[in-house]
Symmetry: C2
Subunit: 352 residues, 2 copies
């Protein structure tokens, strides 16, 4: 190792899901939305005055902040936007988790949390989910340096009732509590109403799932004006202009079309419920997911075998080998047609 | 202050230049390019299949990385891309500057360097520019935790000859040296050839200035495969998907049009040289800028008065009050027509 390598921050990076690109593939591996973005997004990009791209975007991203604030009944100063919810969460870890006490998040959860903690040298502890993959709220009542968990949790899809979320926040008013609601729009209740009551609660959401915009990189946080101010200070100390002009314009168009949003979320929920029934019939078991994926294990067939067989057929799901969840597959909910093909394949494969 | 505020990272953020938006304005305050992006950028956005926005972009941004690598005669593993060069630099500070010894950068330079150092708790020292605003290379020969400087420097526009850049790198082979070449395409020599010789040298450039894409947020770094790998590891530990699908497509289109790039850079250089002559005639003095801006002071009229008078006429330039440069204006080079209006206004104003 050269001397210049001594002062490099060495990390074990997060491994994003594979992004295969085959014409006949059924891509159920990274929780994308099977439906295209709202029609207005297309119009906005088609009609964009590309000459303006020579100019910096609005560093405050005010058009987008305001469109989100309007949608959720908030003021502009309660909303922060970033380059996907990963950017928002990374910035939140950097801004809010500077205690010497460990932050807390579940042992089975979004696998980026420990990566951010390691990157920023934040100590952490990981309370163990119960045998049904549920978060035990009492595990979060002790002293800590901050809390973060997804609701619904990933990759389990399990929802914590709002009353329990509030219990956790109420027990932790001296630290920042982040609820990562990447999947909340697929049928569970947001903790958003609690931000008026708890100044230390941050809700993070994304356009990548329910708004069909993973490719545009838009995430946002909602919280008290004080929290949002701290977050913006850190953002302006990292990169003043995070959101490009196309993302700002497309984001506004997407968030304004509530009808399309509700319609596509509804279709995904219907397809998810249908898929659950079919998976049960085939001998799969899973906790009741309220996300746009199902985290399932089969009574006899190993997850790894299923993963490989599906992959050969160009059906991509996510498989996390090892540990308590090593025999599970995380299956994104696609269109009804895609899920029929998927179920059909499993039916044939399992009856061979 | 509430208890939860105790562990927040408190920072004094960077203040970006104002982004006014008036129909008749002449915007010479944030070093944007007065010409639109290459024609291919427009086509790419017009013809974009917006349905694909539902899918994550390529986390490795390979199309863009390859287009840049091809342009500069490099391999893919020598190029890193980010959300503007600010993102690339922020990530570089986080990755490379983890020594307990101070990093070094000039006292008068891009005002984001000390902000990043403060954000990441990196100690720093700021060697003083000489009386002509030139970097004294010997100031960078002592022990340090890393080095960063722009070449040409901002806001002065002063260029350090390549031999001196190499002298600095040669004296600092145990730390990372970053040369921030945001303005290099306007007539100075890049240190790029040195990356084959010095594994610890990182060159950072941007699409925001010479490629007319400030609004798309694209920056890049070039260096040894080892450096780029460390940078990517940190990036994958922060946000896997930084570049959205429109930025990737538009970036490729921009970098492939070398003819348009050369033509617009050439026009800006010509206009800069014309503006220098006119400013001299009006009693301004300045070091010889090789950037797309001129950092000038007037023999009798205070910079603040000029700044305000110009502003009333909706001509925006940048003014940094205080210190050794407090009587200077940083004037971005616009189109020839814009600069004629600007010079005409100054002529009238100064003869009043």
């Amino acid at each position: 190792m050269a001397n210049w390598e001594n002062n490099i921050r060495k990390v074990v990076p997060y491994t994003p899901g594979e992004q295969p690109n085959q014409p006949d593939m059924i891509k159920l591996n990274t929780n994308e939305n099977p439906y295209p973005p709202a029609p207005g997004v297309r119009e906005v990009l088609r009609n964009m005055d590309t000459d303006t791209l020579r100019l910096y975007p609005d560093p405050a991203a005010l058009d987008l902040v305001r469109a989100i604030a309007d949608t959720y009944g908030l003021s502009d100063n309660q909303v922060f936007v970033g380059v996907g919810s990963d950017d928002v969460l990374a910035m939140s870890f950097l801004t809010f988790f500077n205690s010497e006490k460990p932050i807390l998040f579940p042992d089975i959860t979004y696998s980026f949390y420990d990566v951010w903690a390691d990157l920023f040298r934040i100590p952490y502890e990981r309370p163990v989910l119960d045998e049904h993959f549920h978060i035990r709220k009492e595990d979060y009542f002790g002293e800590n340096g901050g809390i973060v968990f997804p609701n619904p949790n990933a990759p389990t899809g399990v929802v914590m009732p709002l009353s329990e979320v509030e219990d956790i926040v109420a027990h932790n008013q001296d630290v920042i509590v982040i609820v990562d609601e990447a999947y909340v729009d697929f049928g569970s209740q947001s903790a958003l109403p609690l931000i008026e009551k708890y100044e230390n609660l941050l809700i993070v959401q994304t356009f990548s799932k329910s708004r069909s915009m993973a490719g545009m990189r838009i995430g946002f946080a909602m919280g008290s004006p004080k929290l949002i101010k701290y977050l913006n200070d850190a953002k302006y100390s990292f990169n003043s202009y995070t959101m490009d002009r196309t993302a700002l314009a497309a984001g506004v168009a997407a968030v304004k079309d509530q009808e399309y949003f509700c319609e596509t979320c509804h279709k995904i929920i219907e397809t998810r419920e249908w898929t659950k029934k079919e998976l049960s019939k085939l001998g799969f078991s899973f906790e009741d997911s309220k996300a746009n994926f199902i985290f399932a294990t089969h009574e006899t067939c190993p997850a790894e075998d299923l993963f490989k067989a599906l992959r050969e057929r160009h059906i991509y799901v996510r498989y996390f080998p090892g540990g308590r969840t090593g025999n599970h597959l995380r299956i994104t909910v696609g269109t009804r047609e895609e899920m029929e093909t998927f179920i059909g394949f499993l039916r044939d494969y399992l009856s061979e």
